[in-house]
């Protein structure tokens, strides 16, 4: 039935059994989705200056095309790709370029950024729409449109999409997976995108399928979003090229390798790409951006951000123009109900803690999480009691307690030999450790060291 060898799915369809698929390991933290999942999305118009870091993607930073004093329009190209693996950056407002200088970003480092003063007019460049039926779109048309629009992976990684869609082994790709699991707690932007713009997401998937004839599509949704699953299945009707898979709700269900395994029973490790398993994985927002880029000719200039947490008065999803300052978003969500102890860009498991909200929203920033209590500061780490919880939850099937011990002792070779580089830094081990040991941090530190040694 499908090119995918997955007998559970076949049985499921045959017997109509609603079964959720998954992998071994993982944790079930407090989901926190109810704070924002059913609230209407706010379209926010920024007030202050817009900041566009030149590197909002994996690969070479973009090269600026404007200089101080230039007038720019919405959708205008202000920086072009700086290499093969790179992406364009467009302005999300109309106004005047104030300058190019180093500014703090969500990752904690300072980066060269284009500063644009917003004139509030939102004068837009002309977009070139494309209404051709899917079968008539050519490969070049699609990839050029995506490249021109500066679409990158919106799940946080920011890999330039047009590069991802041009793998070396294009004829071996037989599965396109849309990652709608949104396994990080508190985040609901992908869910809202599905509920509000399901048609465009599906269209985006169809466009990608056009690039790989013979491939089938899967939209993988966690089973804590039953409404989304129902909606998608209704919209797809009897479409035999796209399936909606219900995934077991757990973290990290959306981790790439585990996702591919759960949906196709194929394994990849840290040295392989999904393309090596015949799969390409895209975030929901990326699929939406692809559709906008190809059909509407719109560049990537806005995204959905979940502003949430128990410190926020009105947690909700906000449609944010790229470059908006985070402190404005907090105000838009009602401000603080209570002073937060911690603000995280992203989800609580893999997000980065911010020490100030005076940073811009970039293409990969998916959430602002404001927590009244810092659970990490509450507990002192203590001795490892070899309870084995970390081993049982690790989705990468390595032994975190052993790896952390080797990392702390600086044993590089033994660390690599025991599978240290297979760690995806999901954070499950630190979460579950009863001795509150900082396992993820220790292992991540060692991995950085190994990678930087390799580069030398």
């Amino acid at each position: 039935m499908y090119g995918v060898k997955y007998k559970y799915l076949f049985l499921m369809k045959k017997w109509g059994i609603f079964m959720s698929i998954t992998f071994k390991g993982g944790i079930h933290p407090y989901e926190g989705k109810e704070l924002s999942e059913d609230k209407e999305t706010l379209e926010y118009l920024p007030k202050g200056d817009m900041v566009f870091p030149l590197s909002q993607h994996i690969g070479a930073p973009a090269k600026p095309l404007v200089k101080k004093g230039d007038r720019v329009l919405v959708g205008q190209l202000i920086a072009e790709a700086g290499g093969f693996v790179s992406a364009n950056i467009h302005s999300s407002v109309s106004g005047t370029v104030k300058g190019i200088e180093a500014r703090l970003t969500v990752s904690g480092s300072k980066m060269n950024s284009i500063i644009i003063e917003n004139d509030g007019a939102y004068e837009t460049v002309e977009y070139h729409t494309n209404d051709k039926p899917i079968e008539e779109l050519t490969r070049e048309e699609i990839l050029d449109a995506i490249k021109a629009a500066g679409v990158v992976g919106m799940g946080g990684a920011g890999f330039p999409t047009h590069v991802k869609l041009s793998p070396k082994n294009a004829d071996e790709i037989d599965t396109i997976i849309i990652n709608a699991s949104e396994c990080e707690p508190y985040l609901t932007s992908d869910y809202r995108r599905l509920m509000d713009e399901a048609d465009k997401v599906i269209e985006g998937l169809r466009i990608v399928l056009r690039l790989f004839p013979g491939a089938k599509g899967i939209i993988a949704v966690e089973d804590n979003k039953p409404k989304a699953i129902k909606l998608l299945r209704e919209k797809l009707g009897g479409d035999t090229d796209i399936a909606v898979n219900s995934m077991k709700t757990k973290y990290p269900e959306g981790a790439e390798r585990q996702l591919i395994y759960a949906n196709t029973k194929r394994y990849i490790n840290s040295k392989m790409l999904p393309a090596d398993a015949g799969c390409i994985v895209h975030n929901v927002d990326t699929a939406y951006a692809i559709c906008e880029a190809v059909r509407e000719g719109k560049p990537l200039i806005d995204r959905l951000v979940t502003v949430t947490g128990d410190a926020i008065a009105n947690p909700m999803n906000i449609l944010v123009k790229i470059g908006t300052n985070c402190s404005e978003l907090i105000e838009a969500a009602g401000g603080y109900r209570q002073e937060p102890e911690k603000i995280i860009s992203g989800g609580p498991m893999m997000g980065k803690a911010l020490y100030t909200t005076d940073v811009p929203i970039t293409k990969g920033a998916s959430a602002l999480l404001c927590m009244t209590k810092d659970e990490v500061a509450e507990c002192e780490p203590s001795a490892c009691i070899r309870c084995g919880r970390c081993v049982s939850v690790c989705p990468g099937r390595v032994m975190p307690n052993k790896l952390a011990r080797l990392a702390a002792a600086n044993e590089l070779d033994e660390f690599i030999a025991c599978g240290g580089m297979e760690c995806c830094e999901c954070g499950c081990c630190s979460y579950v450790c009863p001795a509150k040991r900082h396992l993820t941090q220790t292992i991540a530190g060692m991995r950085k060291l190994v990678l930087s040694n390799k580069k030398k």
Binding site: P340, K352, A353, I385, N401
Partner: protein, 556 residues
């Protein structure tokens, strides 16, 4: 303007469970067993529990203070060790021995090796084995209802039968915590519901052991179900399987490793219990298996997700271990990622573990069995010599059963205890016959458990009333000899001397008493100087024998 924000590395949330929560759950799970133990064994047992917990916590705090380390007693791990140790001790153990055991467990086995998480052996069990080796008699004296008796397992080993319901509910003798399988199971269910332990190790352990026992029972013609259930409920198996074998620090951390560990434990316990010298094998089985845990972990380390996948092209699927191992050796593709252990390696390592297990168990069993007969022979010889000594006139000595002496059930322990002699047991009653087969006397073997150094087993000869030269000679004691006596040399051991034993060669009386002030008549015995306890034990034994003699009527 924001207040100061905290930053740290991801992940930013933590689960609610902490180390002290887990330890506290274990303490709660042990409460049913403790309650049954205290109900069975009373105040001294309660004292032992309190002393063990307090001394374990105290020693840990003292050690950590002395070594200028952070005092971590609030994580409850020392308290758990104390409680487990107490539950593994016999209820009448002297308190100072319990304190010594606690010191050994905490300071030597745990702290000297690096503290929490670093002990190579279960501290409570290691301390129990330490006490077992140092103070064997005290550690193997079990009372029930105030009466010293053999544990059900010892009875089983000697071929007797036991009451299963009592064993399951716990109305039997044993260490404080091991008696009630029901209470222990209750605690174990609690721990499983709280996700503190996984049932893997205990179920595999008990399953392997039960299978081995069942096969053994079937092979030796015993009642399979009864024997197996009795073995499961008796001794420290339930306590060991659910609470000691699942100890995090000393059990394997890998999933498959836990299964291997359970099987090793089951086999070792079986071999030690059936073929070993003592009826109890769980403690030694667990500490020996603890030593094998690092090897088990190495052999069963998990394969990282997607290991070797790049060698099979894009339709990567999990192949069997043999195929993968061949390609690993040939290619560089895994660049530094060591094979966790290929198929051959795992099988070799696990085979080594089993061989070590079986060899050790077999060695212990063989030594015991090979020496069993010679030991029995020597004992038999000593017995015959003792008989000769106490009744030189007998041509033959014939053991008799209860029916033959009037059906009084004398050989049943409870009978004697109810008659007012709780510390004595009659081991054997024999008739001494002359050349014509006429019974001229009775020889009794009595054991008194209240000696200073433990049991005293003595042989007492009684002559029956007879006519000599027209005068009636009453029954009297013809001799007193010792089969087993472990008293203090120079003091209590003087009991074996002619000076002491000859005092008993007098006509039978109601009861002997001992005095330090010089005896005034034949019913008084001069106490051994500096050995009153020994004297008391011997006198009590003789009195018990005389009491039984008085009930063997018709021979006045």
């Amino acid at each position: 303007m924001e207040n100061t924000l905290k930053i740290s590395s991801s992940p930013h949330v933590r689960s609610k469970t902490s180390t002290s929560d887990i330890m506290f759950d274990v303490i709660i799970a042990l409460i049913p067993a403790t309650v049954v133990g205290l109900y069975n064994f009373g105040l001294h047992a309660a004292l032992l529990v309190a002393v063990c917990i307090l001394s374990c916590v105290g020693f840990e705090a003292l050690y950590q203070k002395a070594m200028k380390k952070k005092v971590t007693v609030l994580d409850f791990s020392a308290a758990v060790t104390g409680l487990l140790l107490a539950l593994n001790l016999p209820p009448e153990l002297p308190v100072w021995m319990a304190i010594l055991g606690s010191a050994f467990a905490i300071i030597v086995v745990k702290q000297l090796f690096g503290g929490l998480g670093q002990n190579f052996m279960n501290p409570a069990l290691a301390a129990r084995c330490f006490l077992l080796l140092s103070f064997t008699k005290y550690m193997t004296t079990f009372v029930y209802d105030g009466v010293t008796s053999a544990t059900p397992l010892t009875v089983l080993k000697q071929g007797g039968s036991v009451e299963l319901r009592d064993m399951f509910l716990g109305f039997i003798g044993g260490t404080i915590g091991e008696t009630s399988a029901a209470a222990l199971l209750l605690g174990a269910v609690y721990l499983m519901l709280r996700r503190v332990i996984s049932p893997k190790i205990p179920l595999v352990y008990i399953g392997t052991f039960a299978s081995a026992i069942a096969i053994y029972a079937a092979a030796t013609g015993k009642a399979v179900v009864d024997f197996t259930l009795a073995q499961l409920c008796g001794g420290g198996l339930m306590l060991g399987a659910w609470f000691m074998a699942t100890d995090y620090v000393t059990s394997p951390i890998t999933s498959v490793g836990k299964i291997v560990y359970g099987v090793v434990l089951g086999l070792l316990t079986f071999v030690l219990r059936i073929f070993g010298a003592s009826a109890e094998g769980v403690s030694y089985a667990i500490i020996i298996s603890n030593l094998l845990v690092p090897l088990i972990e190495k052999a069963t380390a998990p394969r990282p997700f997607g290991y070797g996948a790049e060698l099979k092209g894009n339709k990567a699927e999990k192949k069997d271990k043999k195929a993968e191992s061949k390609t690993e050796e040939n290619s560089e593709a895994t660049s530094g990622l060591k094979a966790p252990m290929d198929g051959k390696g795992i099988i070799k390592a696990i085979a080594a573990i089993f061989v070590i297990t079986l060899v050790m168990g077999a060695a212990l069993g063989i030594v015991y069995n090979v020496t069993k007969e010679p030991i029995a022979d020597v004992n038999e010889k000593a017995k015959q010599e003792a008989y000769k000594e106490v009744f030189p006139d007998a041509a033959e000595v014939v053991p008799v059963t209860d029916e033959e002496i009037g059906g009084y059930d004398h050989l049943n322990e409870k009978f004697l205890h109810e008659q007012g002699y709780p510390n004595d047991t009659i081991d054997e009653v024999c008739f001494a016959n002359d050349e014509n087969g006429k019974t001229i006397g009775v020889i009794m073997t009595v054991t008194n458990s209240n000696g200073y150094g433990g049991d005293i087993q003595m042989v007492i000869g009684f002559s029956l009333a007879k006519e000599v030269d027209g005068k009636v000679q009453k029954r009297s004691i013809t001799g007193l000899s010792f089969l087993s006596i472990n008293e203090t040399v120079g003091l209590g051991m003087q009991a074996t001397g002619e000076d002491f034993t000859s005092q008993f060669k007098v006509p039978v009386c109601e009861e002997f008493t001992y005095t330090k002030l010089g005896k005034t008549n034949d019913t008084e015995i001069d106490a051994l100087s500096g050995a009153t306890i020994t004297t008391s034990a011997v006198v009590d034994g003789v009195n018990a024998a005389m009491h039984i003699m008085s009930m063997i009527g018709g021979y006045k």
